[in-house]
Symmetry: C2
Subunit: 568 residues, 2 copies
């Protein structure tokens, strides 16, 4: 491609509205432009990167017998009403009325559509398993679109769905997908981790996320420093082996703690430790209040709490509800003498607290020397808290460390979550009607472009891995008015194209400095510069990744390039 | 691809809601399924055909230096308000509000978006010309979606846009595009015609349509039986050479014609000819009434009338308006003694009428022996009527014939229609600010699938041209339980794939009759059947296009296939 004919609008200055590096660089190097908040156009270079990502995904999907389809963005409301998501998905779902005032959702995901499609055609176990995928635009009206392509309102996804007669068959495909995803992200050049994840609103049981490691990632990964264990912090389990101290149990005392509201206040006022404090929170779980206990140095993990309670939603109760229930503020709650009908759930660590400190359910008073079981009852112990760096890993073999990650893939075992409401059934080999076992598997195609940009760059611009670079080679003629330079550049352009290299040929009448700066910004793996030595058939070569420069005689160029690009 | 792993739900019966053959066959052969009125899913075979169409389009676009981009479906209302199309596009434009109640259009086309993108980046003639294209889903809320993929509400289009410093540059690109489109539709195997077209709501001047010939086409093409002339009937011009008869002019007479309303009534009552009748119609052109005359055997063409009047809209006036204006019904209007301020425009053929018949502007009366100029004035003569089969062609060299066509492509010279309201300007080589000259160029990607299906079929199913077939070869093992058959089929499947043939391998445990019927329905170019002669290494080969059958020894298969598929 001749650069003069393409549309690669580069910028020197850093765009003020782009907070993170990948967003800045993709804008500056002319890969994308914003049309509206969270809505982008992919310019020629961006579109090429997308196509390369899609190619790798297609190859790996086909290798595990997933078959490509293409479903519509406009989805009848009736389908979403059938699963209840028309109501539960909230404002994130774009809704459209057609000219007859019929309601449609703009596809945020396609479980409903694909289940209805398959349901109408696949009625026997003989036609299962079946795995379908598509690469398509998705629409989600995010509350806070940000970070460029990382959290957009219109974005490109690969979504796959599998249908099975048995859980074993689903397990098998799930493992295949996990491997295919590992292959995909490896081929894409991403530094990533596969982590245990939460099913979230999509429902389902077993689920893993694929996280590209990056400081600006919105997810925290808890991983083991010595074993392969890794989980989204939302889901990271605690190792529940505790030692209880052999301290002598003392008598409970009620003490005045005027204006003490926080754990920190109490710790310094009583000269004690946060590990001794029993934090008591009132949550509303599906409209029912529940008391939740954890140690003063720990934080309750909503997802774990939700899962432990089997609730659809959990949220902290309003202060007003607490005052009505206990006649004290939220800073003075404690587990002793709570109303009998209030369920109490505690994090495992509470069981090991000896002579602890807690609120007295009376403003400005706390209790000391409080002991579980002796002084208050717990309905159930569970793993409720966020893990912390330094915690022992669940397998007991290592120590938890944290990293930030960008979710680039997510696989789910859905079971019958969708086939039941959608009435997706087949006859099994005994002639009985059964619901499909389903899996769903997503990859954020456009998001990957940002994740790679986040991992591959330096102060001068992007540094695309070979597999994803929009072109292999940036061919630059320093002075297009110099006939020897222009002739050699034209000759090389033709030659390299005939060898099937993808070449971006900077034939613009720009100064050398502009061409070099643009080239570094765009970040193709190899830059070939035709300068003064054109007359003697020598070109300068620079590897974008290492920054190394060298000179090649023109006769050796194709061979050396084949060696470089073949060596993947 | 093993058929057992794919999703190809075939049907024996003709779907009752599919009116036309291509729609029936694409449904029956499992290429598509309807999700809602005018909204379809592309199943694996359909998706493969789409990909092949897209590949050909991409190759031809790149050959003329058009560069691929990808723009969003969600488009800010402000852009459409800027060109006025937010208001003029009507209910065909899907409109969405985001969670902040901001208005968006769902992309029906992308002139506004691309003009705003280019406007912000290309400010010098040095960066022109520039041609960008995308392949993308479009949304249009058609009043009457029908004929399957031919008129849908969500469909796939290739749309290209070009930007130029001069009209000459636009002319050049327009010719390049016309040639590229000709190449594309030729490679797609379509029987098509390039026709002169109307710009319609998109605006612009010079414009051509590419019409796939088909009885069920919604457009009528008027073409010359001897020259390359072809035009959409909306635009087909008349040859305006007329001979005026040398009949003696007679005196006007008013005669009673009780209850005579139509030309037919008058012709039989007066024993005259329709060619003698002067039909007078009152139209409303942009809210202003105008009298429009044509011969009794002709029909007024709204598009020609609109263009002749330079109006945005023309429609027949309501009867009430006519009565108020002339105090007579629409069946009794005539051009003699019309109100002085009513503009009169007449088709050229009126000039040659001698001793004609027309309404008397009085119910139940007509005038005979009426002659233009002598008895009534015409403000302007123009080419206003639809051409008819048998008319002389505009070049005078042939005779008009009609054919029906499916519009598969449309190219437009937009000029500054969009760059002016969108303020898309650049500095020319004299440092003056100018508006871009623009062109836009569309291809109905998903519609092509239906157009090809409409042209390539027989009573047993589809007959895909080689370039578009979802697979090259249908490999069928008649009896998967016969070891010799299964082994040979497995061996051939591997072999053919290693030769890069695309093979659909029917490995299902179905009866031979079912497999053959499905194979004919799906319509791949070559069917290879492994039957009883498997043990002696002989396969049966059937060419779907010609219906010819033959036998090949297995050693010769790859060579014969290469000869067949290479010969394109």
């Amino acid at each position: 491609m001749k650069q003069s004919l393409s549309f690669i609008p580069t910028m020197r200055e850093v765009p003020s509205d782009a907070e993170i590096l990948s967003h800045q660089l993709l804008l500056r190097a002319g890969f994308i432009r914003q049309n509206a908040s969270g809505i982008y156009s992919y310019l020629p270079l961006g579109k090429k990167v997308l196509s390369k990502i899609e190619l790798i995904i297609r190859e790996e999907m086909e290798a595990i017998d997933a078959v490509e389809v293409f479903m519509p963005a406009l989805q009848q409301a009736e389908l979403w009403q059938k699963t209840g998501r028309w109501y539960s998905y909230g404002p994130e779902l774009f809704r459209v009325k057609d000219r007859h005032q019929r309601d449609f959702a703009l596809g945020a995901t396609h479980e409903e559509v694909i289940t209805s499609l398959v349901r109408d055609e696949v009625k026997s176990y003989k036609k299962l398993p079946l795995t379908l995928y598509q690469i398509q635009t998705k629409f989600r009206d995010e509350l806070r679109p940000r970070f460029g392509l990382l959290r957009g309102r219109e974005f490109i996804m690969k979504d796959a769905y599998s249908f099975h007669a048995t859980e074993e068959s689903l397990d098998e495909k799930y493992q295949d997908m996990k491997q295919a995803y590992t292959n995909i992200f490896t081929r894409l050049g991403l530094n990533f981790r596969t982590v245990i994840a939460d099913g979230g609103t999509i429902g389902g049981t077993d689920t893993h996320e694929f996280m590209a490691l990056s400081e600006i990632g919105e997810d925290t990964i808890a991983y083991s420093d010595t074993s392969p264990y890794a989980a989204n912090i939302e889901m990271a389990e605690m190792n529940t082996t505790f030692e209880k101290s052999d301290e002598v149990l003392l008598e409970v005392e009620k003490i005045s703690t005027p204006n003490m509201q926080t754990i920190d206040d109490i710790v310094s006022f009583l000269d004690t430790e946060a590990t001794k404090c029993i934090k008591t929170l009132i949550f509303k779980a599906d409209e029912k209040l529940v008391a939740v206990l954890c140690r003063g140095d720990h934080e309750i993990n909503d997802i774990k709490l939700k899962n432990a309670l089997g609730a659809d939603t959990v949220e902290l109760a309003y202060e007003g509800d607490v005052i009505e229930l206990l006649s004290c503020g939220v800073g003075s709650i404690g587990p002793v003498k709570l109303p009998l009908d209030l369920k109490v759930i505690a994090d495992h660590a509470i069981a090991s607290v000896v002579n602890g400190v807690c609120g007295a359910n009376e403003d400005d008073f706390h209790l000391i020397n409080v002991n579980p079981e002796r002084d208050f009852a717990v309905d159930r112990y569970a793993d409720l808290r966020f893990v912390q760096e330094g915690d022992t890993t669940p397998d007991g073999e290592g120590t938890i460390k944290f990293a930030q990650g960008i979710e680039v893939g997510h696989i789910f075992k859905l079971g019958t979550t969708y086939s039941e409401p959608m009435e997706g059934t087949f006859l099994d080999n005994n002639g009985r009607n059964q619901h499909y076992q389903m899996g769903c598997y997503g990859i954020g195609v456009s998001r990957i472009m940002a994740a790679v940009a986040e991992q591959y760059n330096d102060e001068n611009g992007l540094k695309w891995p070979k597999n994803l670079a929009p072109f292999n080679i940036h061919l630059i003629a320093l002075n297009m008015k110099d006939e020897a330079q222009k002739d050699l550049a034209d000759e090389l352009y033709k030659l390299l194209k005939s060898y099937r290299f993808e070449v971006l040929y900077d034939d613009r009448p720009e100064r050398a400095g502009v061409k070099f700066a643009d080239s570094d910004l765009i970040g193709l793996p190899i830059r070939i510069t035709i300068g003064k030595k054109a007359s003697v058939g020598i070109v300068e070569v620079k590897y974008r990744s290492s920054g190394e420069s060298t000179e090649w005689p023109k006769e050796e160029i194709t061979e050396k390039l084949q060696a470089f690009f073949g060596a993947e």
